[in-house]
Amino acid sequence: MNLALDLISDALLVIGALFTLVGGIGLLRLPDVFTRLHGAGITDTLGAGAILLGLALAAGWSLLLGKLLLLLAILALLNPSASHALARAARHGIRRPWLDDPKI
């Protein structure tokens, strides 16, 4: 039982680390600020979620578990708000996003 929990926790940590890395690569590779927001979005949601869930499984039943889940909830609430604030500001500041279909 304990071994299984450890394995799931490790797997979640590795998945989270991988998605975080991919998000970082996306931050560098993608062409403009709006597409980069999508890249950062992966890290914020799946990367952070998987890492924190992995840590929560490693923590076991304690106050720490509650705090980790609280941290997850806070990140899930605040990150989209920050992303939207950034996207909205960039929309009004740059006005010309890099689009595939330039007629819009």
Binding site: L13, V14, A17, T20, L21, G24, V33
Partner: protein
Amino acid sequence: MFTLTGIALLVTMVLALIRAIKGPTVYDRILASNALGTKTVLMIAVLGFIVGEPDLYIDIALMYALIGFIGTVAVLKVSEFGDLGQAQSPRDGDKS
């Protein structure tokens, strides 16, 4: 496994730093610093498990997550209005 995750987070932080330095627009830099902040929160949480004192570090991570958000919004507001005191932009006036 915690160490591996920590290393991946550090590499991602370096990637975000490169984006923050390269820019080109101010929004890229704010985005990079925001992403860096999220990674720092995760890094602090993972670091707590690495050094074996997760109870101590998770509180710092919680505080960092809350303060980082306020910081991002504050920097965005300054970059858009050049002023922290203004409550609303003129174009918001008709909506609310």
